[in-house]
Every structure is written in structure tokens, then in C-alpha cells.
Amino acid sequence: MFSFILRRLLMIIPMALVVVTLTWGLVRIAPGNFYSGEKKLPAGVEATIRKKYGLDQPWYTQYGMMMSNIVRGDFGDSLKYQGQSVNEIIRRHLPYSATIGILGYLLALTLGLTAGTIAALRQNSWFDYGSMSLAMFGLSVPNFVLGPILVLIFSFWLYLLPSARLGGPLSLILPVVTLAAIYTAYIARLTRAGMLEVMRSDYIRTARAKGLDERSVLLRHAIRGGIIPVVSFTGPALAALLAGTVVVEKVFAIPGLGNIFIQSVLNRDEPLILGIVAFLSILIMVFNLIVDISYGFLDPRIRYE
């Protein structure tokens, strides 16, 4: 087990560099420049800019220079926001996205696991149908629709919560709920499906036959197997959450990393794109590693060679 973890950890950095390379390739293929604007730049000025950023050199030279910096952890300065380094930007805005992301996912886990388990246990009851329909609702409404609806209800009709911008704990409620909605739906359905699988299986029948009470059966045996699909889902979901908070950040004017990332792609701000991509890819890989490790704990049938 230990060597397995070590091997995976060592692979992370080289893989992140591969991701950075592929992304760099994509950015270079995409048409448009960071310096283009509605008003055209005079040819002489454009030539000077290209020279300053080394854009007039052959692509392999540029790639080499960039990679040698990145390997040392230096992503350089943002092209659009002059004077701000990429590391600084990530450090500054990550906490916002992380806060609503983590709170959102915790809320989704709590609600989803509970609802999914109960629905599986009381299959075909009104709770089952009702909660799964509600979950379905969460899946059918895009978050850029749900957010404004919630703002309309809770901010403008009921005057309970602020409509945008962070400030005080109340302002976190609407963004977190909007974000959690779709994940709650996913988790509830995955849990229900997984639990149903497990509850019919032989080892659960054995446990019951042995005389264990339903509660032990549930908590000690069934849940472990039942939540495997949720665990598979969590790894990439958490990492995608960071980029997925974009809509919530736009609607509620929260200065998070998701919005900055999308903007950097639209602005062709290469250092910032690469920096965020490198960071996110390392995060995803770490999460996936944790997920894979927990498979081993949850299901004794899974063995890693």
C-alpha cells in the first residue's frame, strides 16, 4: 500500500507538466492575443510588444524558456493584469472559491447521502419518489437560473438575504445553496443506486441471517459498499467544483478563482492559464489518489497490486 501511494505521489509532478504542455499547445493554437482590443494597435507598437514578450522567437525557444521557469515554480506575471504575479493571484482568490466550494460540497454530501440512503431503504415509498423527484429538479435547473431565482425570492421578496457580494455569514447562504443543488442531486441518486445494489447482495443477506440488527447492517456493512459510486464521483467533482463555481461567482459577484480562470482563457492570458491549470491538475490528482486509497478501505474485494 505504501509503495503504491509513493509511486502515485511521484507521478504527480511529471503529469502536471504534461498537462501544462498540452494546455500551452492549445493556447497557442487558439486565435487571438492578450493585447488585442477594440482599437487596433499601431503596427510598430505591436512589434515592440511581441519583442518584449519574446513572441517573435521560434516556438520551441519560447516553450523551453517557459518550462524552465515553471519547473522552478515561477509562472511569471499575468499578461493582462500587469505587475501581478500568477502565484499571487492564485493565492489571493483561491480562499473565496475554496470556501464556497467546500461548504457547498459538504452541504451536498450531508443532504445527498442521507436522502439517498433513506430512499434506498424505503424503496418505492413517498419519500423515495419525493426526494428523487426533488433531486431530479436540482439536476434539471441550471445554476445560472437557480441563483437568480433564489435572489429574487430571498432578497427581493422576503428581504432576508443580501443579493450579491460577500460580507458577513448571511451572504454565504445563497451562493452555497446554489452551488450545492446539483451536487446534492447527483449524490442522492448515486447513493440510492449504490445502496440498492449493496442491500441485495449476498454478504448483506448473510449479515442479516447472522442476526445483526438492521442498524448495524446498515452502518457497518452496507454503507461502505453503497457509497463507492459517490466516492468515485467526489474526486473529480471537488476539483471541477473550483472551476464550476464560475456561475455562482458571476451572479453573486464573489472574487473567486473560477471566474478569473474563465476570464484568463477568454483573455488569452497564458501565464495565468498555465498557472491555474497546473494548480488544478495537481489538486485533481491528489484527490483522485485519496479516492483510490479509500476504495481500498471501503471494499475489501479491491486489492492493489
Binding site: 443506486a193 463507492i228 459510486p229 456561475v247 476504495y295 479491491i302
Partner: protein, 320 residues
């Protein structure tokens, strides 16, 4: 010697499943609604155009009519800000949304299941490598992929068969549709990754069971073990996940439209109609309501159908 042997039709897995499916009322309801929706979006636009003359892009000629109007007899779902009939747009948008859902999900299913099952069964180094590749692709921002695909292929270098498809489905001179097909590929390319992980997880727990060992012992080929024994047993969560992929893909497309990268004007999809409608929610709520409800209804049906399929195909699920 003549043989008067009665040939007894064996009950195949498929027929069993179909019978079980029909017994599930909600699934049948879902199938019917979905079927009706598909028929509606295929022939609906033509019918509307024939009876009322409204199409998805017809802005009225009389200046007074170029504004948002509430539901009425002439416009069953009201009009949008440019005076276009929302019913016509919802039907046209349905074509695109459904195509997005179905095509992208199919692509992701085929690639994801094959990839994930193979990785899960083969295990060891190969599994490691395959999953690392998934990790790598997962980290590449799909927005970037979409931008590159649309701009590199959307111009003069659009392959001919895409042009033919868009001419057939949207009428001549509609270059915008080729952008949509590129969108399908981009979305399909992105969604197979999580499917692969889910399938792999399932296969990992199944591969050490007795039936697999039995198959190996009798000399069944690896390919057959994976696709004829393991995959059908893993189908439960896979089908549920597939039915989760359809809304996810449709919502991703809506998100891309919100950012300006998805379905482009003059076409619409349910997602883009919802994105436009939400801006006016406080004053013209029908602009959000109708596309939203239609989308929700379709996705509801898909899910009931998915649940039914899971219950029907999984031989172990019995109601005790």
C-alpha cells in the same frame, strides 16, 4: 426422418428486461413523454410554420410587435424581446438540446465504458497508465478545447460531411449548425472521463467474484470476459450515471451558451433560452418558465426511464 420438434423460444435477457420495464409505470410514463417530445421537436417546427407562419428566427415585420408579449392564443408561450414566438424557439431548441444530450452521451458511454472496464479488469501497470491519462485529460480546461475546436474548424476548413449534416438539418446556408456539431464532439470528449472512472470502480469490485474466475477457468477470452460478463453486471450504476450524463451534458451546453461559446445565434437550445430568460425573470417570467419547464420535463422523463432501465436490466434487483 422428419423432425417435428417444437422450437421453444427461449426467453432472452432482452425480452425479460423489456417485460420488466413495461411493468414500471413511471418508466413507461417517462418513455411516452420522451417519445412525444422527440416527435414534437421533429415535426413541431414544420407544423407551427405551416399553421401560424412563425419560425424560430422570424422577427415580425410590424414594428409594434417587436417586443415581449405574454402567452396568448397566437403565441401559446408568449414572445421574446424580438417578438419571436417562444413555442417555435422551444421546439427548435429542443432539437438541438436533445441531439446534444443523446449524441454526446452515446459518445461518452461507448468510449468511457470500454476504457474504464478495460482499465479496471487489466489492473496493474496498464490500469495505472490508463487512469493517469484520464487524470491528465481531466485537468485540461474544456473551455479552451471548445474555443480551439470552434475557431480552428468553424472556418473555411470545416469538413464536408459536417457541412452536409448542417444543410440537411437546418437548411442551406446555415453555417451555424456546423459549430453545433463541433460542440457535440467537444462535450462528448469531456464527459467520457468520469464515466470511465465510475465503470472502473464497479469493475474493480466485481472482477474478483466467482463468476469471473469461472469464466477465466473455462478459457473465455479477455475481451469476452470484459464485455459479456463484467459490463452487464456493472450496468446498474453505469446506466444511472449515463442518465445523469445527459442532463449534465445539456447543462454544460447551457453553461457554454451563457459564456457565449455554446449554441450561437440564430439557433437556440433550451439552455440558451433559459439563460436569456433568466435576465427578465422579474418582468417577463414566461421567457424562463416555458423553456425551463420543457427542459425539466424532458430530464424528469429521462430519469424515470433510466431508473426503469436499471431496475429492468439488473437481474438481482427484486422487490421483496
Amino acid at each position: 426422418m422428419t423432425e417435428n420438434v417444437e422450437i421453444i423460444k427461449g426467453a432472452s435477457l432482452g425480452r425479460d428486461a423489456w417485460k420488466r420495464l413495461l411493468r414500471n409505470k413511471l418508466a413507461v410514463f417517462g418513455m411516452i413523454v420522451l417519445g412525444l417530445m422527440i416527435v414534437a421537436v421533429i415535426i413541431g417546427p414544420a407544423i407551427i410554420a405551416w399553421t401560424t407562419g412563425y419560425t424560430y428566427d422570424s422577427i415580425p415585420e410590424q414594428k409594434e410587435l417587436v417586443k415581449a408579449m405574454g402567452p396568448s392564443f397566437r403565441h401559446l408561450m408568449g414572445t421574446d424581446d424580438a417578438g419571436r414566438d417562444i413555442l417555435a424557439r422551444v421546439l427548435q431548441g429542443g432539437r438541438i438540446s436533445l441531439m446534444v444530450g443523446i449524441i454526446s452521451t452515446t459518445v461518452s458511454l461507448i468510449i468511457g465504458v470500454s476504457y474504464g472496464a478495460t482499465a479496471g479488469y487489466l489492473g496493474g501497470r496498464i490500469d495505472n497508465l490508463m487512469m493517469r491519462i484520464v487524470d491528465i485529460f481531466y485537468s485540461i480546461p474544456y473551455i479552451l478545447i471548445v474555443i480551439v475546436l470552434l475557431s480552428v474548424f468553424g472556418g473555411p476548413s470545416t469538413p464536408d460531411w459536417i457541412k452536409w449534416l448542417s444543410a440537411t438539418l437546418g437548411g442551406a446556408g446555415n453555417q451555424g449548425l456546423s459549430q453545433i456539431f463541433l460542440l457535440f464532439f467537444a462535450l462528448g470528449l469531456v464527459s467520457w472521463l468520469t464515466m470511465a472512472r465510475v465503470v472502473r470502480g464497479q469493475i474493480l469490485s466485481l472482477k474478483n467474484q466467482e463468476f469471473v474466475m469461472a469464466a477465466k477457468a473455462t478459457g473465455v477470452s479477455t475481451f469476452a470476459i470484459i464485455f459479456r460478463h463484467l459490463v452487464p453486471n456493472a450496468l446498474g450504476p453505469v446506466i444511472v450515471y449515463a442518465t445523469l450524463t445527459v442532463p449534465s451534458v445539456m447543462l454544460t451546453e447551457a453553461f457554454l451558451s451563457y459564456l457565449g461559446l455554446g449554441v450561437q445565434a440564430p439557433f437556440a437550445s433550451w439552455g440558451s433560452l433559459a439563460a436569456d430568460g433568466v435576465k427578465n425573470i422579474a418582468i417577463f417570467p414566461w421567457q424562463l418558465l416555458f423553456p425551463g419547464l420543457t427542459m425539466a420535463l424532458t430530464l424528469f422523463s429521462l430519469n424515470f426511464l433510466g431508473d426503469g432501465l436499471r431496475d429492468a436490466l439488473d437481474p438481482q434487483t427484486r422487490k421483496f
